[in-house]
């Protein structure tokens, strides 16, 4: 199939996404039932009907989200398909990290299965085999054997494992940029660079705040070919002052301020907002442009995250007026 076809279909899919004002309205819901009722006319309606608990709710939202994304590689031409699959593998990494943590704690196979996002379509791995691994080292061995991710010989702990997976993911995705149409390549590269910059800066700020060991930070930082280098961040980190980061990265001021605030959740929300804003700012002149596909993936994730945030906020009884600052798309 042609790239134009994929992009046109993406425009169609994008029209199905929930409007900002509806999400704002959903944030005022008093109960999960009320939320489910208000979503009954949307794509989420049939799946939310049977949802009783917050976990059911989250699962239903994840299914719609994954359903939307899994359609994209099928419509893409082989070159772009390769890139999209690699990009979507970020959700597989989340699954792998969750499996690793639960394996470490001795969770049962069923408990692990219940937790995962169903990303079969983009996965290179046999997830069922990984779930059946007896322990963490067997899980790592199976991943290494599959060749899906490049892991070093020695993986000390789960944090190490997670960092190595993301390192391998970003290395692969930057490599796969060659599959993106030339006209969009730089924009996509900048987007990934921005995202990785924020991931690295978050780790640095946590370390400056004394929440993360300096030795661990060096392991967690990921090389960024389209942003601030790892060595630069380590050098700045040795100054041990958050102001240095504000001076060197003025474009991420809001993010750095949120990270310095001490609220561990705020940088994550801010990171997603910045990445989305960047994608919004790249409103391309032509209607047929690959960037729309990436923008659609991000918008879908924003919608998924926002609905999940609203549902959990309702579950915890967070007042409606405080919920808006937890959302990424409004």
């Amino acid at each position: 199939m042609s790239l134009t076809y994929l992009i046109c279909r993406t425009h169609g899919y994008a029209s199905k996404l929930l409007r900002k004002d509806l999400i704002r309205e959903l944030a005022t819901c008093r109960s999960l039932q009320q939320l489910a009722e208000r979503l009954s006319d949307t794509e989420y309606g049939p799946r939310l009907k049977a949802a009783q608990t917050i976990l059911d709710f989250e699962k239903a939202l994840a299914e719609v989200f994954v359903g939307r994304l899994s359609a994209l590689p099928e419509l893409a031409p082989s070159k772009v398909k390769d890139f999209i699959k690699s990009y979507l593998r970020r959700y597989e990494i989340q699954n792998l990290v969750w499996i690793a943590r639960m394996k470490l704690g001795g969770a049962s196979e069923d408990e692990i299965r219940r937790m995962l996002i169903p990303v079969k379509g983009v996965s290179k791995l046999d997830i069922e085999l990984l779930i059946k691994a007896k322990n963490l080292s067997e899980l790592i061995k199976a991943i290494k054997k599959s060749g899906a991710y490049l892991l070093p010989k020695e993986v000390e702990n789960v944090i190490d494992f997670e960092a190595e997976l993301w390192r391998s993911y970003y290395a692969q995705i930057f490599k796969k940029l060659s599959r993106v149409p030339v006209s969009d390549r730089q924009d996509v590269k900048n987007l990934l660079g921005l995202e990785l910059d924020l991931v690295n800066l978050k780790i640095c700020m946590l370390s400056v705040a004394g929440k993360l060991d300096r030795r661990l930070v060096k392991k967690l930082l990921i090389d960024n070919p389209a942003g601030a280098s790892r060595s630069k961040l380590i050098r700045l980190l040795s100054e041990g002052d958050e102001k240095i980061f504000l001076e060197h990265f003025p474009r991420y001021r809001s993010f750095l301020m949120s990270a310095a605030s001490g609220d561990d959740w705020l940088p994550e929300v801010e990171k997603f907002r910045i990445v989305r804003r960047f994608a919004e700012s790249r409103k391309v002149s032509k209607f047929v442009n690959f960037f729309y596909v990436l923008k659609y993936i991000m918008d879908s994730e924003a919608e998924y995250r926002d609905l999940r945030s609203i549902a959990i906020a309702v579950h915890h009884g967070i007042p409606p007026e405080s919920r808006l600052r937890l959302l990424v798309s409004v």
């Binding site: 969750w98 997670e162 060991d213 561990d264 994550e268 929300v269 959990i312 915890h316 937890l326």
Partner: protein, 206 residues
Amino acid sequence: MSLGVRYTRGFLLDLKRRLSFVRDAHELLEMKRDQLIREIRNAIAKLKKIRGEIEEEVEELYRDLALIHVTYGSQELLSASWIPGEKMELEILPRIIMGVEVPELKILKAPSVGENYPPHIIGLARKASNLIVKLLELAELEAMIERIAEDLRMTNVRVNALEKVVIPTYEELIKRIGETIDQSQLEEFMRVKLVKKALAKRREAV
């Protein structure tokens, strides 16, 4: 209260000795009660302070937990909860306060979250782990107050029993025995006097 009452001088002396012992015991128990009240007051003041601090910390912890849950979702939080932290070790030692055995917790190894927690959750995990130490302190104080309160209740019952029942009974008994003995002494005296009189009359007639 059965004492096997005998209206004799020996028994009266024995009763007086016993009463003096009971009064000493009463005084001692009163002193113990006062000391226990002082201990319990101090412990309650400390408990109020710690409980206030813990309530604030729990509130903050729950707020952070809710916000992290909202931002990262249940899977992230639940999977992190499977990460085993380093086990804490503690010893429970008995401590005696005015004869009351209360538990004293000695933390041999404070709980630690280790290095496996993801960076965005490690702060929350550390807060929760620090809170456990405070909760243990609270539990120790609550157990101490509970034990002292129980002993205080028993001491109070004993003090009241001595004050309202035992001592008045002894006093009443001593009074009664004393009166009975005095009366029988008077009768004896009168009888001796009459016998003396009768003997004197008989001697005069002879």
